[in-house]
Symmetry: C2
């Protein structure tokens, strides 16, 4: 048996999320179905860096699986891409040590959240359209309060069972490209809905409903009700996942 | 009766083209169906600046129609957008003189053709993926030969009935954004498939199959067989249409 890791992208729109579930089409199920075809009916289980919700996209999700087949590393991507549906693609594939685990050995993740400020049908389901004006400088000031190690209970969906809600955020910034805002958040780990709640709160700062310094108070309250609304899923992208050893060399992209 | 002009965009992927036809979903049919609802069953005919083929997108198509209804100009866009499917959107609407005609009074058009050089599922159906390397400087040199007034028979689909194939190209350039190339062509009018044949030919120059100066010879041959392949429809966008009087004020966008 050898362990293979893959860098994958998918358009979340027509999935009920990443993880296999009884009802609805999922990314994991599509990949496992394709792997079963490659393995002549043998069941191959796939592990990902983490799940993504329905509608959430991925530009740099990482998965791994074990296989008895011996084929050149890059052929895994090619073979799977011929079997996968058009909204999932394997960008790269390589053999890894068996102590690598897509989920348990991650050292960090980056998410991006796209907001568009002019309606554009080509971006529907791929960015969140905010028609009103936004104070970008106020949002950037608020981003500063997100940095560092905090208990992020206020930015975690209330129905989560995770006990330790302390996470370290190493990047929280807003990049502007024409009419598009990219909220970039990176850290050692993220709680359930954490990015979407953070973006929803930052947008309330941008709309003038909250002051930037309120974000510090929201964090210290450790109370989900103190934070803003959860921004919709369709603007969110799992952008990249990092491991102790660099796994895939890929240029950074917009 | 008053004449209304609209600036519209659509994603061409799920249309059999702009123009109404017996089989297949068309942009014109969707707009006429929505107008009929607004007019309580009355049939309203729509005229566009020109048709677009199946799979071709529009960011700045212009249409007009006549209506007995008197509603504020910008309400036409809002009312139609509530009725139209999600892959067509009215960007702006305004009243125009009855001597305005979306097709017969155009003074020029701009098309853009998007080529991506790295596969990206988010751009599938929206750009043409060219995996091999391209010599952009060679293509830019070739673009120069397209400029000016020429008989463009070589860049016209063979089955066209149009007699006069002389057109004036005022802009032919290639803009680069990250991994995306935008072929921008503007002129007083375009023959059937002209942009797609031009881009297909320029890509053959970029691939080293032809020299840049061959484009001059292709034009003077006045023979479709001398030019390159027709580039696929899904990379093409009708970007803007101009009239003697500026019709819609809109920022230029990528």
């Amino acid at each position: 048996m050898q362990r293979i890791a893959c860098l994958i992208e998918y358009i979340g729109t027509n999935f009920a999320g990443y993880q296999v579930q009884p009802n609805g089409r999922t990314v994991q199920q599509e990949i496992e179905t394709s792997l079963m075809k490659l393995h002549k009916g043998q069941d191959i289980k796939v592990s990902a860096s983490g799940r993504t919700d329905a509608g959430v996209h991925a530009k740099g999700q990482v998965i791994h699986f074990d296989s008895p087949l011996s084929i050149p590393a890059d052929r895994w991507a090619k073979a799977l891409n011929t079997l996968l549906p058009r909204d999932i693609r394997i960008i790269a594939s390589q053999y890894v040590d068996t102590d690598f685990h897509a989920r348990y050995t991650t050292t960090g993740k980056q998410y991006r959240y796209k907001v568009i400020r002019r309606d554009d049908i080509f971006m529907r389901n791929r960015a969140y359209y905010v028609p009103h004006s936004l104070d970008i400088e106020a949002m950037r000031e608020a981003c500063g309060y997100m940095l560092g190690t905090h208990d992020f209970s206020s930015f975690c969906a209330a129905n989560t069972s995770v006990e330790d809600k302390v996470r370290t955020i190493t990047q929280c910034e807003i990049a502007e490209h024409d009419d598009e805002l990219n909220f970039i958040l990176a850290g050692n780990g993220f709680l359930y809905n954490m990015v979407r709640i953070a973006v929803g709160t930052l947008l309330e700062v941008g709309s003038g409903k909250r002051s930037p310094s309120e974000v510090a108070q929201i964090i210290s309250s450790e109370n989900r009700k103190a934070a803003g609304k959860t921004a919709p899923a369709h603007g969110l992208y799992l952008w990249s996942v990092t491991y102790a050893k660099p796994l895939f060399i890929r240029e950074n992209e917009r």
